[in-house]
Symmetry: C2
Subunit: 137 residues, 2 copies
DNA sequence: GTAAAAACTTAGCATGGGCTAACTTCAGAG
DNA sequence: CTCTGAAGTTAGCCCATGCTAAGTTTTTAC
């Protein structure tokens, strides 16, 4: 029982980075039209070299594509993942706000929590946002 | 703004493992009287070698101590961290249950989410558990 | 009291995700 | 057009977290 949980934990770790990156790439494209490596450098506050490494993994995994010295784009799979992450992120953040958490902290916590929120929990949060809090037992 | 968030994200990653381990060590001690490496092997479903590595880091960081071939113990700092994590874990899990999430999923999500829940969010969750849902504004 | 099994250690390897330093390419100002 | 600074690449390093394989110590069962 616990075994499966921690197996998932480890797999999640490798997916979190990918999720954060496709989200950031999608954001940059939405905001500037294209995503340049330098956008990710400043977004994640890492070096160019690190962005290069990570984007190479995204490309290997079929989530992104780019030509040397060209902008970074998402594959259809990358776009799908980015959309899923954006929705999930927004739901978690809105839920925390509704819970009464401050804007700053809600943004911070949502960033970390979003990767660990299952579909079921997300649905429950979405339901609260649409229909209000559950009735007291 | 986003920079700080992702700096935190990276630091968190290195703390999650430590938190999971001290929690597991404290659990084993509570349950069996002592914690043996083999308990962590089965709890995390990793090899003995991996447990050895990780516990060595915990020792280096002043959270655990052990003699060769002896049981694994927590330092006062380790115990403090374990207690904090246990409380946080329980609050998050209980909160998810109150939200209407199933037992299985609540356990799974709590495991991942707990490391990313700030004090403020935890307080908000605790408040709901004690006093019920916020009033619909 | 010893032999087999279980627990533990150590060495060596891989991958992910970070860095610096040195280099190349590109784009814009003059 | 050229030259300079920004953007991107490459090589080489480090540490965390996993593994296998091989050896050592401890425990247990006879």
């Amino acid at each position: 029982m616990t075994k499966q949980i921690h197996q998932r934990t480890r797999q999640d770790h490798s997916r979190e980075m990918a999720e954060d990156y496709v989200e950031a790439i999608a954001d940059a494209i939405a905001q500037y039209g294209v995503c340049r490596a330098v956008d990710l450098v400043s977004h994640f506050d890492v070096t160019h070299a690190t962005v290069n490494n990570t984007v190479a993994r995204l490309k290997r995994d079929g989530l992104a594509k780019s030509e040397p010295y060209g902008p970074i784009e998402l594959t259809p799979a990358g776009r799908r993942l980015a959309n899923k992450c954006r929705d999930r992120h927004q739901t978690v953040q809105a839920f925390l706000l509704k819970l009464g958490v401050s804007e700053t902290i809600a943004a911070l916590d949502a960033e970390g929590m979003e990767h660990h929120v299952s579909k079921e929990t997300l649905t429950a949060m979405g339901h609260v946002l649409q229909h209000g809090w559950p009735k007291e037992k």
